[in-house]
Symmetry: D2
Subunit: 439 residues, 4 copies
């Protein structure tokens, strides 16, 4: 974490007064513009003495929000929005917020929706763009998904994307997507800079797994947890009502088990949470199967909640990658289901296993109220940053402040559960599962 | 349908005045007892001329409800409740209603819950019963499933069950379950009669598929449809947002496609509904794959909704039966998913298929308000019938009247969608799918 | 109920083959057209002997559904839709179903939405109509209310309305509304007939109170009950958590207490249901206040559920009527709240009263899945009837069959709870309230 | 904000090893205990240069969590829980979490629930306590409210409360309540200290208004917002569907408008948000009535969302206080409804006003998934603090860290919306309302 550089790039001087009706004055009881020297500290947690890093001015994040002077002339601005990668609750809310803020607060009238992720930029697919305006987007948040469509891949085609942006005369590109997408956005921004173009690239980070660094909470995450809770509730019902019932629920979480951990905290029906961050054994004295057997004998029902990236060391490597370049995982849910069935069959203990994989049901859901608020604010702040001529940044929430984050920071590493930290401790507390299932 | 015999068996004369505070007088503006000669016609639909059957007195169903005189002495009555077969929304509501009505309306104080279906009666499993009272059941309806647990099978063990009823001194057996369970109840009632015992057997029909004859609507069915709607909504989102997205949802419905048909009517995102009652081809001019290909080329997304019993002629026979004696079906959902993938791969058309099987999520859900009302009334009417000494019957809803139905009527045949009737017609209307996908 | 005449009027001979792709053949396994001689019996319930009425051919209702031959030429048909009176869940679903069926099944391309009820027809308000097509209506069911707007009154302006229909060249008028609206529709249809115009008038009955005669269940009613249940649940929480807490919930129900009765059955937290059909006293041995006092002393909390039309004999007449000509009721909820507060103050017993009036929250809600299905089918059947040239009728559901009902039948009397029938009996059962609170 | 003192009081040395199975070692991949020198910075936001305060060691908050050594011997510990003031989603979740953590993590077996707030301690009310254990609390979170009951007042009776704690032999008092309650807890803790008793007092802050200082977000707040959103949605429907419809929704928020502000951000149907922090005029060029009139003339519908404490300068003082000593506010909702009606009547413009007050429906609701997680963690951390012998503190969330907060800090001032800060700015953005409605 040394040498963090939170400096935000700008396209040029801001010569235009913002059309947004806000106040420049403090203490006039009216909503204010934000100035570039407002910040929030990054390192705020310590042990023993105040961390030295917290004293360093570099370790601060620029606050997001509307600036009194802007870079782009709204009447001549063409904005484009693209959504990439897997679905996540709130995508339409973010699109809607961007369009509404561009249209009503700044008066921008040319807003193009790019279809199906980066592929919508590529000439070989010949996909028309979608004209976006308040009429088109006003009710889209009642549906999950993205009206633009989405797809994976093509992050390596930054030259073609920038060609396309030039042909279209785009001034601002809003990119909504995860780790891979934001790497693509960085490459696009780098190419833009190389060509000396005046195109702002502003990302909104999306990851249903909640695993982006420097992002306190990803949009859609709370909605995802609330839907996962519903599935766990039915798994518990199935397990409880069957003779020696075992309910297994697999949820998203490739490298981090945040959905699984929060779901277990929200509903105290989970007995074992398995996440990528905490390895476990199947057999042996401390192994999952041994512990599960004891519980079935004593309590006659059990619920397991598994993040998709958990226990990958236990199953054969698929040696595949998807279009985004992500490794294709073996299916730990089905693997465990089979292993558990085998185990109890060998022991001649009747069990009734119910396996639930609610992934699509979770990710296709509309955002709940709290996520709707978050998406609304992410989208507005993205517009404010872009109109101010800031570029190569993400809108992020850190310590409950909306901030500007250089894209390269966000893609530098993943956010995972600290097995020694308070979240996992509270999960252990809520489930009563052993601290370790390694022998 | 000829020779329907709706006569209800009785254990004996009713010598006891009911403790339920209702009125014997008409026109006193107070809620009345029901007399045995109140009925509802069975055949009410006609074409051309009034059906002769409707004129026959035999074709009427006895109305359910509290009788002014009852058979069992509440202070000396021991009731038992058993739930069998797969889960269904509302089981706990029915249990609760039976207990509440026995306890508060009649003053019965001995109510035993039998654990895990008929197996709870069998000595070799040595399962203790659960004492039921208002305190135990008052909040159980907030959870799906059944607090008693459930299991399949043991319908052939009627002799052992009756032995057990005798040993326990049970006077009334309430059996909540489907086709198989009610056949078991019939065998139990027959054995009871053979032995000359004074034990009333009253069933509450349960089938999430809504496929019992002589039952207008099974409890939990509306809740199931509302949950299926949620899954279809996410399938639509997935299909719409992907490049040539195809969402496939499989729902319950072994011999009848009622859940699928109603779901399609509730949410107009379904393009093709496949049900057991309407056979279809995969290939050829009218075949599903041909039609789906046309839609993908024209519209770029599609949603299929499949009842589990659909298209069983297309897939290899599993030659298995489950513990209830039901044939184990091949998985038509996975089969179609693979066939569709193959088809488009062969045609070199990119498609993105999302397969959702929400069965456990559907069946483990608590009952919605309308099902809660229905369960409440089914349970109360079951108690009224039993306390009046009526036996070997089900509580059913026919033409919106709660009625007594001889068990043998209900198990005699299955209720299926009439492909030439109004329900299927409205499904065709709502989906726009071809009337026939047979060549 | 004597002399019921269920005969449906027709505009003329049907010379046009229906474009709807259905089958004329029985037993070809394909969805069928309906013929005019298909019916359902009206009287199906009996006592002692089969009611003579059930034998009379006049006592049958014509089945709704698409006819093989139609009256209107779809390419030359102009349909208008109007929504009148108070809001109700499902209005947008019905509008959507009518538009979709007209457009996709028949090919009608001129569909006008009349704004704000009958006032949208009147020249002095100069309101433009709204062009309706699938694009406009495809997502409207996700919102409560009606996209057309609604208002009360102007039922006496039938001459002006028919003038307006003539000027607009409307061929079919779909009127969605309650008792008052349907009386207005009848007057319009009568005037149309008098002028010899070929305009079909088809109504869809709407009443959140569920109080229309000859309509088994009004659309939106189940949704209303499910929302009322939520309010009662919070009233129970408030009552339970406060010292001597009394929760009072007032729901819709001017002349009938169906919402209150069903809500009480769905959630067993209600102790006293007050409906217009069952008068009650406040004071005296059996009076509500006396009984409530006993409960508060014994149990320390209570929940009352009141239909707005209950106890109108107890409060001063307002002597007002609203724009629909309905008498403006005194507010029984506030009246009782005050009376209860006075009573306990006089007795020096601390009580904490929480009063909840969720009416707008209930009626502005979108339809749930089951109501969505019902609205979908009501709307389609209305289109089928109109295209066949049938007129002056409502689409109704009777004994679970969609039927054609002459408007004059529906408006002839109100449907109310029979205090001696099974519904009220089950309410008494579920609440445990006294059969009578009259002295 | 000068001189903040975040030091936490302790009852004495901790001589007992914690029974909670956690790890003392860092980097062993197992969940850790927390040490007393772990902290989070309080001031983290700056402008221009790093705030000097952030450098001060006093300005840090002690992290919450289980300590390796504890003060109380679990086998001899008697804990009491009390809930005070108005209802709020999540109360039962907090009670449940406290009981579960005491019972399963520490082995405490004597847990008393105090009935109906502080009044449950007072001898003149003679209320028995409620024995709490996992069986009693396991399903209580499915219901809103508090199983203990709640009431206002008696904060001045700290001497009697401490007498009662002594008589009962209570070692730990958990007090769940708002500003007034925590002031009472402070007085109790002060009296305890004066008497030299070894009783830990640990508060969990509760305020549905989200207006406690030093608490990032109060539990139940997100649930409250999501329910308020539902009401606003129906208000919009009513306003939209009526001729010149005006929907008015009043929500909680005595001194702060957080619920109103967040609700407006979650649902873009609100046109004007009125909060206590931003005064407004009714008449004059910028006044609400003038602006509303313009909107009605131009757009024909409007939705107002009002926090109960808004515009109190406009209405006559009630000169009343409630049992908690809070001033009883005039009803701004009804006041505005009447003023608006008068205004448009005087202008002879037809309007249809719908007034919705969903307060009880909001506060009696069960916690949603995210609040459930929060309550679970608040409750556990309260137990950890108490068992470690810490006292006179609240469990708080600050910058997403659970911390110990001296009670006197939390009650020192109120948290309100900064009209010049980002939240209010985003509300202005989302509603499009004028920055100021003062002349």
């Amino acid at each position: 974490m040394e040498g963090l550089n939170f400096t935000i790039e700008k396209l040029g001087d801001r010569k235009i007064a913002s059309p947004v009706p806000l106040s420049n004055l403090k203490n006039d009881n009216q909503a204010d513009f934000v100035s570039d020297d407002q910040f929030v500290l990054y390192h705020i947690e310590g042990g023993g003495v105040l961390l030295e890093e917290a004293r360093s001015h570099e370790q601060v994040l620029e606050l997001a929000g509307p600036r009194a002077r802007i870079y782009f002339d709204p009447t001549k601005t063409h904005a484009a929005i693209v959504t990439c990668g897997g679905l996540c609750p709130g995508l339409n809310d973010v699109i809607r917020a961007i369009v509404m803020c561009l249209w009503y607060r700044y008066g921008v009238r040319r807003i193009s929706g790019i279809r199906y992720g980066l592929r919508g930029f590529l000439p070989e697919f010949a996909m028309p763009t979608m004209d976006l305006n308040p009429n088109v987007v006003s009710e889209i948040h009642t549906r999950g998904g993205t009206i633009l469509g989405s797809s994976r891949g093509f992050g390596h085609r930054s030259l073609d994307v920038v060609d396309s942006l030039e042909r279209m005369g785009v001034n601002i590109l809003f990119g909504i997507g995860g780790d891979g997408t934001q790497k693509g956005m960085l490459a696009i921004a780098t190419e833009i800079k190389k060509r000396g173009l005046k195109i702002a690239v502003v990302g909104i980070p999306k990851t249903i797994d909640n695993d982006l660094s420097f992002v306190q909470k990803s949009f859609g995450f709370e909605t995802a947890v609330s839907k996962a809770v519903d599935s766990v509730s039915t798994a518990h019902v199935e397990a409880f009502c069957a003779v020696n019932g075992i309910g297994i629920v697999k949820v998203m979480g490739r490298q981090s088990g945040f959905i699984a951990a929060h779901t277990a905290l929200a509903i105290n029906d989970v007995n074992y949470v398995l996440v990528p961050e905490v390895p476990f054994d199947l057999d042996g004295q401390n192994g999952l199967l041994t512990i599960l057997e004891q519980r079935i004998i004593n309590r006659h029902h059990a619920v397991l909640l598994i993040a998709e990236g958990a226990g990958q060391d236990l199953i054969p490597d698929t040696n595949n990658v998807d279009a985004s370049g992500n490794k294709v995982f073996g299916d730990i849910g089905v693997f465990l289901k089979d292993k558990i069935a085998e185990h109890f069959k060998a022991k001649n203990i009747e069990v009734n296993i119910r396996y639930i994989d609610p992934s699509y049901i979770i990710r296709g859901t509309p955002a709940n109220a709290n996520d709707a608020i978050y998406c609304q604010r992410l989208g507005s702040n993205a517009v404010h940053a872009a109109m101010a001529g800031k570029t190569t940044l993400l809108i992020s929430l850190i310590h409950n402040h909306f901030v500007h984050l250089p894209i390269q920071m966000a893609v530098s590493c993943k956010n995972v559960i600290n097995p020694e930290g308070p979240l996992w401790r509270d999960v252990i507390d809520a489930t009563g599962q052993p601290m370790s299932m390694k022998n």
